[in-house]
């Protein structure tokens, strides 16, 4: 929990998160995509957890990793199923043009939502692992510490 790491994290984290969103949207036609974007975002949160502590990181994520995982899975599934409802094969891309004010015409398709789903699943799984491992280690250390104290008291 060094001061340098904490200070650096304060600047690195927003950059990493922005970069992960950039990777996510870039992924359709160029290198990038939901998986690595999710890993980058999870790395950002893990960095925060290392620099501060797990509880602070959990508070920062706000929702539980399991919720992210479930929501991401559902989103990916639904975007895949959309084609099935229309009589096509599962996971077939369905595209539609959406007119957004200020932005203009936007081609929106189910692959994008699938990717966003993957993004959340990856964040959820990675954070679940990191948080669980980190918390177990913390619990173990406090246990050792307490045992140590007891020993000394004797």
């Amino acid at each position: 929990m060094s001061l340098i790491l904490r200070t650096a994290t304060r600047y690195l984290m927003p950059l990493l998160l922005l970069f992960s969103v950039f990777l996510l949207f870039r992924g359709h036609n160029k290198p990038g995509g939901g998986f690595i974007a999710g890993l980058v975002a999870a790395a950002a949160f893990s960095l925060f957890a290392i620099a501060n502590d797990v509880r602070a990181a959990r508070a920062l994520v706000r929702v539980e990793p399991q919720t992210l995982l479930g929501a991401g899975l559902l989103l990916a599934l639904m975007s895949g199923l959309l084609a099935s409802f229309g009589g096509g094969d599962f996971l077939t891309g369905v595209w539609g043009d959406v007119h957004l004010p200020l932005v203009g015409e936007l081609a929106l398709g189910t692959p994008l939502f699938f990717d966003i789903g993957v993004y959340f699943v990856v964040i959820g799984v990675a954070l679940m692992d990191v948080f669980t491992l980190a918390e177990e280690t913390v619990a173990e250390e406090t246990e050792l510490l307490n045992a140590d104290k007891k020993e000394r008291r004797r």
């Binding site: 899975l73 559902l74 084609a83 099935s84 599962f90 077939t92």
Partner: protein, 497 residues
């Protein structure tokens, strides 16, 4: 109709996803899983109904045409296995509701069980080798978690062995896939069947052995089975039941698919090798079962013994033998799941799985004793039960090709199974209890809910025996499709061979 193919796959995933959303509400997860298992069962029935007459359903994921995209294929064999998976899934989910403790439920037992079922279903339905690898990994990862969940000492010991050996087999499988792709340029199983014939045997023989080793580990074939009895008895009975019923059978299924669809079109002949391995597997499993003193370990070795019998059908390599294998797999899945569930109840009543410390259950639980005999006799192949008809078909097929040794071994293994089962029954039920037990208290521990899936599965094995002719008819249809792969290839690729 294509949607029917993905529904049994999507339903468990959907249930798992919603369960993750309601992570803290264990009761919701529980009933969601039961509901999802019921739904999967309905879809699997519908899928089976639509292919039972020999039709083959295919779906190309993402609409990408066959050799390029990932194909899902349901022929009769696959649909039968999917139906079995869904049935066992339903049975173990109901059993789990009353037998899984809160701690395991808090760590996500129910969603992970659903993901395991999805992995098994996916492995049965896929028509692509790499996709098969992915399903294997889905299945293995969730099974690792189920195996280690709870964190008891024995579970962790078993878990490490299971993880190591299965990852090794996955690495071999992956390497085999890499080689196969580099020499054929495709991984679609139907397309492989068309292209592999052009390769020399010097290439296909080592490839086939790589696949044999990779799937042999998963199935628990003779020199590669040792991880199974070291790990299957450590988790709660429900988990052992679903592992025993389904996971090894996926290995056998993969063996049947690769060796009848892909390597059947090469000069490689592994039939004798398979028969030898099958014979050794049977003997080791049967003798191993007799040597054990823990009820669950007896069953673990019996799984191995009966994997040997199933693989024997593949080695005999005729339509009748394959039909026998399919019938045998159906019976084996139901019976072994059932046996592990019953032994789970017995362990709850006696407080131990050690045969020496069990006993006296004939007085306190006579019904359970009767229920135990149904799958026990069925597994041993006693005449009115389903196991007899399955083995009859295999023996006939074996005699047709004059493979007397392996046929004799398969009969011996039936006797060994019978001895092992009767020993289990005598120790647990017939022998007076080594302790003074309070019968009334014991009745409390059983729980009526646990008996529901057990009774249902027992009725099913009796039904399989009575309706053996109809079941064998379905098995023959499935075996016919496997034996003559042209239908499969045409259904996937849309071209004739």
């Amino acid at each position: 109709m294509n949607t029917l193919l993905i529904l049994p796959l999507i339903t468990p995933l959907m249930v798992a996803a919603v369960s993750f959303l309601v992570w803290r509400r264990k009761a919701w997860q529980k009933w969601l899983s039961v509901g999802g298992a019921c739904m999967s069962f309905v879809w699997a029935c519908a899928l089976f109904e639509s292919v039972r007459d020999g039709e083959i359903l295919t779906m190309q994921a993402g609409g990408w045409a066959a050799p390029f995209g990932i194909s899902l294929v349901a022929d009769t064999f696959a649909a039968v296995m999917v139906l079995l998976t869904a049935t066992m899934g339903l049975a173990v989910t109901i059993y789990a509701v009353r037998s899984i403790d809160e701690r395991r439920a808090a760590f996500g037992f129910y969603p992970i069980l659903q993901i395991l079922l999805m992995g098994v279903t996916g492995a049965f339905l896929t028509g692509d080798l790499f996709n098969l690898y992915v399903w294997f990994e889905v299945m293995l990862m969730s099974s690792f978690v189920l195996l280690a969940l709870g964190g008891e000492r024995a579970q962790i010991e078993g878990g490490i062995k299971y993880v190591t050996i299965n990852l090794l087999s996955s690495a071999i499988f992956l390497a085999a896939i890499g080689f196969l792709y580099s020499v054929t340029g495709t991984l679609n199983m139907a397309d492989l069947a068309l292209k592999i014939g052009a390769l020399p045997a010097s290439l296909t023989a080592p490839l086939s052995v790589l696949f044999l080793v990779a799937f042999g580990v998963k199935a628990g074939l003779f020199p590669l089975f040792f991880w199974l009895p070291a790990s299957y008895h450590t988790p709660p009975a429900v988990v052992s039941a679903v592992f025993a019923g389904l996971l090894t059978k996926v290995g056998v299924y993969a063996l049947i698919r690769t060796f009848t669809l892909i390597f059947a079109f090469t000069d490689v002949d592994v039939d004798n090798l398979l028969l030898t391995l099958a014979g050794l597997t049977m003997v080791t499993g049967g003798l191993g079962a007799l040597a054990q003193t823990d009820a669950r370990r007896v069953l673990s070795f019996l799984i191995i013994a009966h994997i040997g019998v199933a693989v024997m059908g593949l080695g005999l390599n005729s339509t009748r033998a394959l039909a026998g294998t399919i019938f045998y797999l159906i019976e084996d899945v139901i019976v072994l799941t059932n046996l592990f569930l019953i032994v789970g109840i017995m362990g709850r009543v006696c407080g131990t799985f050690e045969l020496a410390r069990m006993g006296g259950m004939y007085r306190t639980h006579p019904m359970l004793g009767a229920l135990f005999l149904v799958p026990a006799w069925s597994l041993s192949g006693v005449p009115p039960f389903s196991g007899f008809f399955a083995k009859l078909a295999l023996v006939q097929a074996g005699l047709e090709v004059e493979a007397y040794t392996v046929v004799a071994l398969s009969l011996v293994v039936g006797i060994l199974t019978l001895v092992a089962m009767m020993r289990l029954w005598a120790e647990a039920f017939w022998k007076p209890s080594p302790y003074v037990v309070d019968a009334a208290q014991d009745k409390m521990q059983t729980g009526k809910m646990l008996l529901v899936p057990v009774c249902a599965l027992s009725l099913m094995s009796i039904g399989l025996g009575i309706g053996a002719e109809a079941v064998f008819g379905v098995a023959l249809t499935a075996a016919g499709q496997i034996d003559n792969a042209n239908g499969y290839i045409e259904a996937v690729l849309g071209v004739r061979r």
